[in-house]
Symmetry: C2
DNA sequence: TCAATAGTTTGGAATTATTCTAATGAAAAT
DNA sequence: ATTTTCATTAGAATAATTCCAAACTATTGA
């Protein structure tokens, strides 16, 4: 019963997908459920695939990739490039930056208000700044 | 004559490799020559391999990768992660940041003095900050 | 100087993340 | 209900990178 604000907010998810111009297919609804109903998350395609499997959701890896990219293009996810080996997708699309724990491959958000980059030179002519990414790389000591 | 500061500073290259604890093999000397005798550069393994080929240097791609990583570990190169698809290696190891032209996959240095990051929170306990990377992503407009 | 040792290079196979493809299935439009 | 459009899927294909075992080279010590 009672579909609390988070759990199983299916209608909400469907609206979200529609808003992004995406058909609310079974797979997309279930994946966006996993993605957006657990606070801020940083996941790779493999991680999401695994999580879907655990949850009993049948989705191919190809669809995982498709969906992650579509959501990214729609501005509902942000792709984070910190490790050449894999791509992370961040469900937090607000302004913020990251700590990256290189030893474990873990990302931690740094709220946008706390951090500031000063002195960025003008973008070369013919280009515009799309985003400024800050990655604070950490090592266990 | 004296081997001007740049051109054909073979002895210099050998000393550099020795200093890094690496045997000055033919391949390493030639590759470090390409890397360090042309100012600040940003290259991928494939780019260096190609460049070596052009210069008539016979080296396998495996050795290119080995050498790039060894030089990186020795602190003579800095690996730059801006694109999930490939790794760049930067011959400028001084403090600086980068513009990244996403449309062309090109990196441009931003001198360290010009840019500053303020408000980085303390590193979580048990970790230390290894480096703060700033990437200003550009798009053609 | 030369053999013994330790470290290096190499081609090709192997691995890994990701993308592509063509066929099948499902949602939207008529 | 049917057609049209878009999505999903398994598996093949790609691309960057790493691994491997054999062949080679620098260094060391007699």
């Amino acid at each position: 019963m009672g579909e609390s604000s988070q759990a199983t907010g299916k209608a909400h998810l469907i609206a979200r997908l529609r808003g992004a111009g995406l058909r609310p297919t079974r797979q997309r609804v279930e994946l966006t459920g996993l993605l957006f109903e657990g606070g801020d998350r940083h996941l790779t395609a493999e991680m999401l695939h695994e999580e879907a499997a655990q949850a009993g959701i049948r989705v191919s890896l190809a669809t995982i990739y498709n969906t992650l990219h579509q959501l990214t293009d729609a501005g509902l996810l942000r792709q984070v490039t910190v490790d050449a080996a894999r791509s992370y997708f961040d469900t937090n699309i607000g302004e913020h930056q990251h700590f990256y724990l290189e030893d474990e491959g873990t990302l931690i958000d740094i709220p946008g208000a706390e951090i500031a980059v000063a002195g960025v030179p003008n973008a070369p002519s013919g280009t515009r700044v799309e985003r400024v990414d800050v990655v604070v790389r950490l090592r266990r000591d």
